[in-house]
């Protein structure tokens, strides 16, 4: 039996655009966070830990619910955004527990 693919299914496995954008935004946010950590910045730039991850989160959610497309990029973008939110939250909590000055 000859193998073939119906034309209408041709782009099924393509990544979603929103998922891809979410992943890229997640990577940019992580890169910015790395720079801030390695430069020992006292105040983290909010853009890399709040604004961009929020955008990445929304795009990731859209990518996650897009049907008939691979959701790999969307899952990664969403995971990175979630990690950045958890990171920010835990860093604030733990910073308050180290030599806290009112």
């Amino acid at each position: 039996m000859e193998l073939g693919i119906k034309k209408k299914h041709r782009s099924n496995r393509l990544q979603t655009i929103s998922g891809f954008l979410s992943f890229v935004i997640g990577l940019i946010s992580l890169a910015g966070l790395n720079v801030a950590l390695l430069m020992k910045e006292k105040v983290f730039p909010g853009m890399f830990i709040i604004q961009l991850p929020m955008l990445g989160f929304v795009l990731g959610m859209i990518g996650l619910f897009t049907r008939r497309r691979s959701r790999l990029h969307a899952v990664w973008g969403l995971s990175i955004s979630l990690f950045l939110f958890i990171f920010t939250f835990l860093m604030i909590i733990s910073s308050l527990g180290i030599n806290y000055k009112p």
């Binding site: 073939g4 990577l27 950590l37 390695l38 990029h73 990690f83 860093m91 180290i98």
Partner: protein
């Protein structure tokens, strides 16, 4: 019934075959293009995932370090050990914990703080400490002290300023008053005194001139006569400031400094390796010293005083005082 099923089956088979004939196989170029697209997508995805994993390393390690130091207030406990060690091992030295700076690195912490001495009526900044921790293990502190008459960094029997009644004092102790006698009036100074007999902290106040403030008391812990521990390592005096300390978060911001002193000793005993790194003496022998104090009570054999220089000169006439050594000197600030 069976004929109907067979008929349905044949019909379905025909439909499927017809559908299959409709499938148009890809041309060779189209197949190459599909493979190329697939390969480039897979490569791009691999690169992005690898990049994400690499970029996660530093944040994850940083977060782990912050959690390590914050859970159970580990960092605060280490800071307390360092500052309390200074209070009880460095005569007339205090720390303003509110100004203490900490810096958390990867699995490490650095703390820096200034140390102060009260000369006369004012506190003077006398230097700063810089202590690095790798997790909970400190390095030897980097000290930058601006003292005119510092205590020896590697203590020995000759270089100490306060001596137990049963210890053999060095010859230089007889010349301790020379500096005070040659200082002009109108200055304030710090003086280290050694007593002929151990006594209760309250009794010392009664024998001193009124215009002198006691800043630190050297407590008899049973090892000061030999000035070394059981293994033969030199030890330095330990003691406490007897007066109320209004400094924020000072352990001696209390009316019962003797109790605060014992509490600190007990706490330091649990973390003696950290305290020993910070102290000048490389042995604190806290368990045996605590046991001695609990058995005999708090008795003192020396003290650090401050006041106008002309008042401090009167110390040589007090029969209970065996020796006086001058410490830091500053311009008049007594009134």
């Amino acid at each position: 019934m069976k004929d109907n099923e067979n008929e349905d089956y044949q019909q379905f088979l025909q439909e499927s075959l017809h559908e299959r004939d409709e499938i148009q196989p890809y041309t060779e170029n189209a197949q190459i293009e599909i493979v190329k697209t697939g390969k480039s997508q897979a490569r791009r995805t691999n690169i992005m995932i690898s990049l994400a994993i690499l970029l996660l390393i530093v944040p994850v390690m940083t977060l782990a370090t912050y959690l390590y130091y914050s859970i159970g207030s580990r960092a605060d406990k280490l800071i307390d050990i360092v500052t309390n060690t200074i209070y009880i091992t460095e005569p007339n030295m205090s720390v303003r914990k509110l100004d203490l700076e900490e810096d958390i690195g990867l699995f490490s912490m650095n703390i820096t703080f200034d140390v102060f001495k009260r000369i006369g009526k004012e506190d003077y900044k006398m230097g700063n400490y810089d202590v690095d921790f790798l997790l909970d293990q400190p390095s030897f502190p980097k000290k930058d002290l601006y003292l005119d008459r510092p205590l020896a960094e590697n203590p020995d029997k000759e270089s100490e300023f306060i001596f137990h009644p049963k210890a053999n004092p060095p010859f230089s102790i007889t010349r301790g008053m020379d500096i005070l006698n040659k200082l002009p009036d109108g200055t304030v100074a710090e003086a280290y005194i050694s007593l002929y007999q151990v006594m209760k902290p309250k009794d010392l106040q009664n024998i001193l001139p009124k215009n002198i403030e006691i800043r630190w008391l050297a407590v008899d812990t049973g090892l000061e006569a030999s000035q070394e521990d059981k293994e033969g390592y030199p030890i330095t005096p330990i003691g406490y400031p007897p007066q109320y300390d209004p400094t924020t978060w000072s352990p001696f911001k209390t009316d019962d400094n003797e109790k605060a002193f014992m509490d600190i000793l007990t706490e330091l005993e649990k973390n003696e390796s950290v305290a020993t790194k910070v102290a000048r003496a490389k042995s604190l022998s806290l368990s045996s010293r605590i046991a001695y104090i609990k058995k005999h009570g708090i008795h003192i054999y020396g003290a650090v005083l401050t006041g106008p220089t002309e008042e401090l000169r009167k110390l040589q006439d007090i029969k209970e005082i065996r020796a006086v050594k001058a410490g830091e000197v500053k311009l008049w600030n007594w009134e």
